[in-house]
């Protein structure tokens, strides 16, 4: 992972981390006083829970915390000992199975009153079901999930249409059922917690999401056109944890502060890596900076200035409410957030003035990306090892420096 000195790090990232710690402690306190607490997968129902004032932790974020604390191997072993598949998605379950708060990140999570899981992947519902059993709490199966049975080829330039024309990109009959899925959940939460759902509050939350993503876009655009890059990729990705508070005033305010700090850096000429000579886009599934980042910066001045997660934030979350129906608008986003298409990734790379995209890829992906006009540096794995460095060196020296 790329190291960075204190004066290069964005102030806002520390404020966000501090807020997250404060949030979990407050949540623990609320739960101890009898309030509900929920666990769900990302993009399944967070806004609904936020609107109902039910604190929720998103499984993706919890797993990122476990990984950041370098506890992944420990918890994967816990799963292996019990004959379960050792997968990243099940690390939260492993923390609960292990039941050692002293060992666990944040001292573990407070006991949830509900765990919500969908059918996004074969295993999600099963793992979440087992997790609820481990806690002795309710498991709520969502019958639909993000990308439920996507049936169509992504139309070119879909990412420019998803905010305002989302209704053209999802199947209406599925959306009808997805809305019903949420209505069932809302009703259950109202009955079991006594909390109320409000369409007016959801409208407000959706507008806050849009505002938050607009600030994200403004910051991203500043970073894109400024060389050397004013914010390290590590800091940019660190802001992603604000995603889990989207639709709240706090979420919007963090992104506003982020934008203002980036703007200040641009105006004062502060750079994350002053020796920037080559700009790269890093693409991976977990939203983590490249482990070889520091090596590439020092050897070639090659800096990863953007990441596919930035595109997710900027292009994919904002939605224009249609027919005065925020729940249907939200449900549509819970069905289709994005397609990882080469034209979208390449558009982001071009926007950020990147000379190449870097990702772990095989020949099918390489061929698809070459058609976009942005070179793709295919590396064999995410490890910072000889094979990765050799692949990158070869690419940079033959494709970018020759």
């Amino acid at each position: 992972m790329s190291e960075q000195s204190g004066d290069k790090q964005l102030r806002i990232t520390n404020e966000v981390r501090a807020y997250q710690r404060e949030w979990i402690e407050k949540t623990r306190q609320r739960v101890s006083e009898g309030e509900p607490f929920a666990i769900c997968n990302g993009d399944d129902c967070e806004e609904i829970l936020n609107v109902m004032d039910i604190p929720v932790i998103v499984i993706n974020y919890w797993h990122a915390i476990i990984t950041t604390k370098r506890m992944a191997d420990y918890y994967l072993d816990i799963l292996r000992e019990r004959d379960y598949p050792a997968t990243v998605f099940s690390m939260g379950l492993a923390v609960t199975m292990d039941n050692k708060p002293d060992m666990a990140p944040w001292g573990g999570l407070p006991k949830p009153s509900i765990i919500i899981g969908g059918a996004r992947q074969d295993t999600e519902m099963r793992i979440m079901e087992l997790w609820a059993r481990e806690y002795g709490c309710t498991f709520w199966p969502m019958e639909f999930a993000l990308w439920h049975g996507v049936e169509r080829v992504p139309p070119p330039g879909w990412f420019e249409r998803v905010r305002d024309h989302w209704d053209e990109l999802v199947d209406p009959y599925k959306l009808d059922y997805r809305v019903q899925d949420h209505e069932k959940l809302i009703r259950y939460l109202e009955v079991s917690t006594g909390k109320k759902f409000s369409m007016a509050k959801l409208t407000e939350a959706m507008e806050l999401v849009n505002k938050q993503m607009d600030y994200w876009r403004m910051a991203r655009d500043l970073i894109a056109k400024t060389s050397p890059c004013p914010a390290s990729l590590r800091d940019q990705l660190s802001m992603y944890q604000v995603m889990w508070h989207r639709g709240t005033p706090q979420g919007r305010d963090f992104l506003k502060a982020y934008y203002e700090e980036v703007k200040e850096r641009v105006e004062t000429g502060t750079a994350a890596c002053p020796d920037e000579k080559i700009r790269l886009m890093w693409v991976n599934a977990l939203g983590t900076p490249p482990r070889w980042g520091k090596w590439a910066e020092e050897k070639y001045g090659a800096v990863c200035v953007t990441h596919n997660y930035m595109g997710i934030a900027v292009d994919c979350y904002a939605r224009t409410i249609k027919n005065n129906d925020p729940l249907r608008t939200l449900a549509a986003r819970y069905m289709l957030l994005f397609w990882t298409t080469p034209d979208w990734i390449a558009a982001q790379a071009k926007h950020s003035n990147c000379q190449a995209i870097v990702m772990v890829a095989g020949r099918g992906t390489i061929a698809a990306y070459e058609k976009t006009g942005v070179p793709l540096a295919a590396i064999p794995s995410e490890r910072d090892d000889e094979a990765t460095r050799a692949a990158l060196s070869d690419f940079i020296e033959t494709r970018l420096l020759s």
Partner: protein
């Protein structure tokens, strides 16, 4: 037995009957998994052919589409099927129905629709995606019902006429007859002593998905009529749980260890036919009810329905031991296994857990040694 020889021939030459049907002017509908109502296809006068893979074959054509994550997981099984579609092995298919089953099957669909757009030279059948939900709640049943009705409508468009209730009732009668006869076969397997090898049973069950049902029924009746002459089988009685088995490798090894596979929980085995269709109800509703309420695959919620089904099936077969065989990357199957092993332990039935199995068994001797030790311990 001549009947068994014919059934065996169709198990090994899986496209034989479908190609003949096509040659005679008929149309063939390929499908994956066991949740596509073949009664609708039969009633439309089309040939339903369940697609399978080939562990001994290549999977090279699937390679470029398998690189991100375990796109075609289950260790080669789905990759093999994709390869066979892309290399022309299934070039006689007119239509291909791909259900929303496991992730790898869904990805196979998205890969094919993308290829249809980008590689126009590639000869692919017309694709139909059959969505469904993975719970057994009433609301899921309503959604699934609409999807199955939409499939029926699509079939009607393909053939240019309505599928009448009369035609559907006739198709149901044929598939119910198939299920009844296969249940008789299952009874011969669980008899004490067992009369049918698991290897033979898999071929008889499998061939029902590769040849005209009426012809299969006729041959199976002949086979069952001669069952009184089948030699009794001694040795350990085993139940097999795990990943889809569209080939005989595992059963051949097991049954070379003085054991008989008396039953299994597998969509290429007993699970394929174990719920008949109610002939007294409206035929469309009856088909839909059957597919909503059929024996659950491992993707279904809740876990308890899987564990109960697996345990009940094993207990009914009076198995003395259970072998779990799970393909590498078949995670959903692996997630239910610890609970199932626990349930067997509580019922005093020993279990052998074969993890991370390859689609093509490349080290049969090591596997045999492992199974022999387990069988000796029973």
């Amino acid at each position: 037995m001549a009947a068994f020889d014919e059934l065996q021939k169709h198990y090994h030459q899986r496209d034989l009957a479908a190609r003949q049907w096509k040659k005679e002017g008929g149309k063939v509908v390929g499908y994956f998994c066991d949740n596509v109502p073949e009664e609708f296809i039969l009633a439309a006068g089309l040939f339903p052919l369940r697609l399978s893979g080939d562990p001994w074959g290549d999977a090279e054509r699937a390679g470029p589409y398998s690189e991100q994550g375990n796109v075609f997981s289950r260790e080669g099984f789905v990759a093999s099927m994709l390869h066979m579609i892309l290399n022309g092995k299934y070039d006689f298919l007119d239509y291909l129905i791909i259900p929303h089953a496991r992730d790898s099957i869904h990805r196979l669909y998205t890969t094919l629709i993308n290829l249809k757009e980008t590689e126009s030279a590639l000869k692919l059948p017309e694709l139909y995606y059959l969505d469904n939900l993975h719970t057994n709640f009433y609301s899921a049943g309503i959604y699934n019902r609409d999807r199955w009705l939409a499939l029926k409508k699509q079939l009607e468009e393909w053939i240019g006429k309505e599928i009448t209730n009369e035609r559907l009732s006739q198709a149901i009668a044929v598939t119910n007859e198939s299920k009844r006869l296969l249940k008789e076969l299952a009874d011969l397997r669980v008899a004490d002593p067992s009369l049918v090898a698991g290897v033979d049973a898999l071929q008889i069950i499998g061939s029902s998905m590769f040849m005209p049902k009426k012809e299969h029924n006729k041959l199976l009746k002949e086979y069952l009529a001669g069952a009184g002459h089948l030699p009794v089988r001694n040795g350990a009685r085993l139940f097999i749980e795990g990943s889809p088995l569209d080939n005989l490798q595992l059963y051949e090894i097991i049954e070379s260890c003085r054991a008989t596979v008396v039953a299994e929980d597998n969509c290429w085995g007993n699970r394929n036919f174990d719920v008949p269709i109610d002939m007294s109800a409206d035929p469309v509703d009856a088909v839909i009810d059957r597919y909503n309420n059929k024996a659950p695959c491992s993707r279904m919620y809740p876990l308890s329905c899987r564990v109960e089904y697996c345990l009940r099936s094993a207990l009914e077969s009076e198995a003395q031991g259970v072998i779990f065989s799970i393909y590498r990357f078949d995670e959903i199957q692996a997630w239910e296994t610890p609970d199932e092993i626990k349930a067997f332990k509580e019922n005093g039935i020993p279990a052998l857990y074969l993890k991370d199995q390859p689609y093509l068994i490349t080290e049969p001797e090591a596997l045999k040694t492992n199974i022999e030790e387990f069988v000796q311990g029973i």
